[in-house]
Amino acid sequence: MNRFVLPFVVFAALAGVLYVGVKHSPDKSTMVSALLGKPAPAFELPVLGDASRKFSTSLLAGRPWVMNVWGTWCAECRVEHQALLDIARQNRVPIVGLNWRDEDAAALEWLARLGNPYTVVAVDGDGRTAINFGVYGAPETFFIDANGLVQYRHVGAMSPEVWEREFASRLPQVGMP
């Protein structure tokens, strides 16, 4: 082989490796949670808009639910909001919003203006519950199964694709006995 063609051949091989690398690049949104397969931390927090009521995880015992960590200060939360509204409209699973280190007034105004995808919003003012869940940054979404075990954690904005692939697929099939 001509020595002047050699660089091209080497580069072609490298490009092939890089192509496979991109195809298989690790998806950082599936950051492993130490909680996977373990019981979700129980919590009892005031409900947004009505501090006299409390939301407790015990209310959801025996059924699967989804927890979405959000705040009005979080730009990515704004990005995923439409996707959450669409998911909520399917009405297949309760979505608990964990309003993380936010101001109640701002959060209420946000929901009034953009629509409310949440079954209930719990106020995590001091961030303690988020810490218990190992939240790394908003938004994050957790799937908790009927036995109260954390089955999936998604870091970053929710999208219809992620929902179908990772969350809807874990729900009991509609119409099955």
Binding site: P7, F11, A15, V17, S25, A75, V79
Partner: protein, 652 residues
């Protein structure tokens, strides 16, 4: 409205980049002066437009326009103004825009300073730069638009990554990019030469100052990153063999080989195809670096958010640019045969050996960086390529390089008879051995043999580089900037080798738990933990400790390491407390709160560490002097009539 204007300016700039490429390349191919005349206005227009886009984005940051998604994601109302400006390049979208802007800046410089070059050659150079610019602007607009809106706007932003809230790191990207992107100029000169089918010594003289300048920026950029890692990441290291660091180091190594190979091509008309290949490689590695950092194929502590679609785009761009250039190389390089031969002990030969070593060094870094990727791609069993891979191979390459430099400096061009230089060689080696042994045995005490050898060889480089200028001064010969620059840059290398060897062998460190009033001692020094108190900044809160360093029982420095908690991003950063002495750093970093007033503390004495960054500064200074040598400034006519001062012609 204003952000949309920025977006629109980028679209227009993209069109002008396409025009620049087409008019430049097709115009030169057809020899049509009217087409070629359109290239410079296209460059100027593109510069104005991309500058406008940069200005618009900075304006959005400074005026807290959180309706721009990128601003909302990387800024905050509590962020100080300086960092709001620097936040413009704090994440992926903005730093791509910065990349594009710096490319246009280089292109504008080429447009301004290439009027003495043959018209067809200059327009080919700008045409190739136009393709690069087109690719990057398209990438920005297609996958990473920094002006994307988010409506209604969030009340406040997510804040700039706290890691980046630091003066050194704020200016690190622009300078690093000046280096990365600057190699695009050398790349374009190489492509233009291959398209013209003509490469002579004049070509090398045109290319050299551009390449050297880009290399200077890259040196400073890498050093700034390393300096930042030293005091901000908290544990006192200066180089971590992290993929992102390696991504900037590979182009530097190949760029170093390139500037030396260009010297041979300019002086002797040799190594033509090798020089071309290095010019292509240096920029290819810059592009590859961008790819590795942006695509998320390699997970690194400071890589940007992963996005496979971006990775695919850059990969396609990489294949077109590098694949295209290498195809051109395979086709045209065989036609550019070197006329003369050279002798195994001439300066040419030493520069060839140095080139080979530098390329091997780049290859070592390359393999170490990409091995995990190849591993994944081929589903092979895990082979461990960690820092061990680098530390077990790199020092030997550098030591070998040091020997070559020290000897090669004395070799003359063409008929290098090293025998004639025997006295000088012996003198240099003797002085270096004396300095090295004194340093090792008297000052620091015997250590690892590699470090002792490094100190001796580093001294040898410094002494060797100084012998020739001293000799010139004694014989009352002129001392052109090219020679002064070369001397300073080589001394920089020597200083770097000595400093790294010393730091590696003679650093003293202790990880201890200390309560108020307690002391940790090492040798004549002791660190006393005085107290810890809360501290509050504009967008963070944290604690600051006061630690007094004692020498022989007397206080010599008071250090204030901090641990900061940035409340918007919820991340914790350490700020090391460092006192710099002429011969060492007194370093202390705050670890964890162990309760009951006790804290884990890392205390270090790092000898000569600041000389590592000083060395990079020396190299850049030397490069800058050499690039501004008279023979590049004075003669702007179409060269060939070689009236370069004789002294300069003898320099590298």
């Amino acid at each position: 409205m204003i952000p949309e204007l920025g977006h629109f300016a980028l679209v227009l700039a993209l069109l002008l980049a396409a025009a620049q490429a087409v008019f430049g390349l097709v115009g030169a191919h057809n020899g049509d002066p009217r087409w070629m005349a359109a290239v410079r206005p296209a460059v100027a227009g593109q510069f104005v437009l991309v500058s406008a886009a940069v200005g618009v984005l900075i304006h959005a940051f400074v005026s807290f326009d959180f309706s721009v998604l990128y601003v909302a994601s990387n800024s905050n109302s509590a962020l100080p103004t300086f960092y709001r400006v620097a936040a413009m390049w704090g994440a992926h979208e903005g730093s791509l825009l910065l990349w594009a802007w710096i490319l246009v800046l280089w292109t504008l410089a080429v447009a301004a300073f290439s009027r003495s070059l043959p018209a067809s050659f200059a327009s080919r150079v700008m045409g190739v730069l136009g393709i690069v610019s087109f690719g990057f602007l398209l990438f920005t607009l297609y996958t990473s638009n920094p002006f994307e809106r988010i409506l209604p706007a969030p009340a406040d932003g997510r804040d700039l990554n706290p890691v980046l809230q630091d003066p050194a790191l704020a200016i690190h990207p622009p300078i690093l990019y000046m280096g990365y992107v600057g190699f695009a100029v050398a790349f374009s000169f190489a492509c233009a030469a291959m398209l013209e089918g003509k490469l002579d010594q004049t070509w090398a003289r045109w290319t050299r100052p551009w390449t050297t300048l880009a290399w200077c920026f890259l040196s400073v950029g890498i050093a700034l990153g390393s300096w930042w890692a030293y005091y901000e990441l908290g544990w006192g290291g200066y180089w971590f063999w992290d993929p992102v660091e390696n991504a900037s180091f590979m182009p530097w190594l190949v760029g170093t080989a390139l500037i030396h190979s260009l010297a041979v091509t300019e002086k002797r008309g040799l190594f033509k195809s090798w020089t071309l290949l290095l010019a292509i490689l240096a920029f290819s590695l810059s592009l590859l670096g961008t790819f590795l950092v942006r695509s998320g194929v390699l997970v690194s502590v400071h890589s940007f958010a992963a996005d496979p679609s971006r990775g695919m785009f850059i990969l396609a761009f990489l294949v077109i640019m590098i694949g295209g250039a290498l195809t051109l190389y395979g086709w045209r390089a065989p036609l550019l045969k070197s006329a003369a031969g050279f002798q195994a002990s001439g300066r040419e030969a030493f520069l060839l050996y140095n080139n080979i070593l530098l390329v091997i060094a780049a290859l070592v870094v390359f393999i170490g960086t990409l091995a995990p990727l190849v591993n994944d791609a081929l589903d092979m069993q895990a082979i461990s390529v960690g820092p061990g891979w680098f530390t077990s191979s790199f020092p030997y390459l550098v030591l070998a390089l040091a020997v070559l430099v020290s000897i090669g400096i004395h070799a003359a061009w063409k008929r290098g008879q090293l025998g004639a230089q025997r006295r000088r060689l012996a003198l240099g080696a003797g002085i270096a051995l004396f300095i090295g042994v004194v340093l090792v045995l008297v000052v620091y005490g015997a250590g690892d043999w590699r470090s002792m050898l490094g100190i001796v060889l580093g001294s040898w480089i410094i002494v060797s580089s100084l012998l020739d200028p001293i000799d010139r001064l004694r014989r009352r010969l002129s001392l052109p900037r090219a020679i002064i620059g070369m001397t300073i840059a080589h001394m920089g290398l020597g200083v770097c080798v000595i400093a790294v060897s010393t730091v590696e062998a003679y650093t003293i460190e202790r990880d201890v738990a200390l309560g108020p009033g307690e002391t940790v001692a090492f040798g004549r020094h002791a660190y006393r933990f005085d107290r810890i108190e809360p501290v509050e900044g504009p967008n963070y809160e944290g604690v600051r400790a006061q630690i007094t360093v004692l020498r022989d029982g007397l206080p010599v420095a008071v250090l204030h390491p901090e641990k900061r908690h940035y409340w918007v991003q919820r991340s914790t950063m350490t700020e090391a407390g460092i006192a710099t002495r002429w011969n060492m750093d007194l370093f202390v970093a705050l670890g964890e709160d162990l309760g009951a007033g006790r804290w884990s503390i890392r205390a270090q004495l790092r000898p000569l560490i600041d000389y590592i960054w000083l060395a990079a500064g020396l190299m850049a200074l030397g490069g800058g002097l050499a690039a501004s040598d008279r023979r590049y400034r004075a003669r702007r006519d179409i060269a060939g009539s070689d009236a370069v001062p004789a002294a300069a012609a003898e320099a590298t």
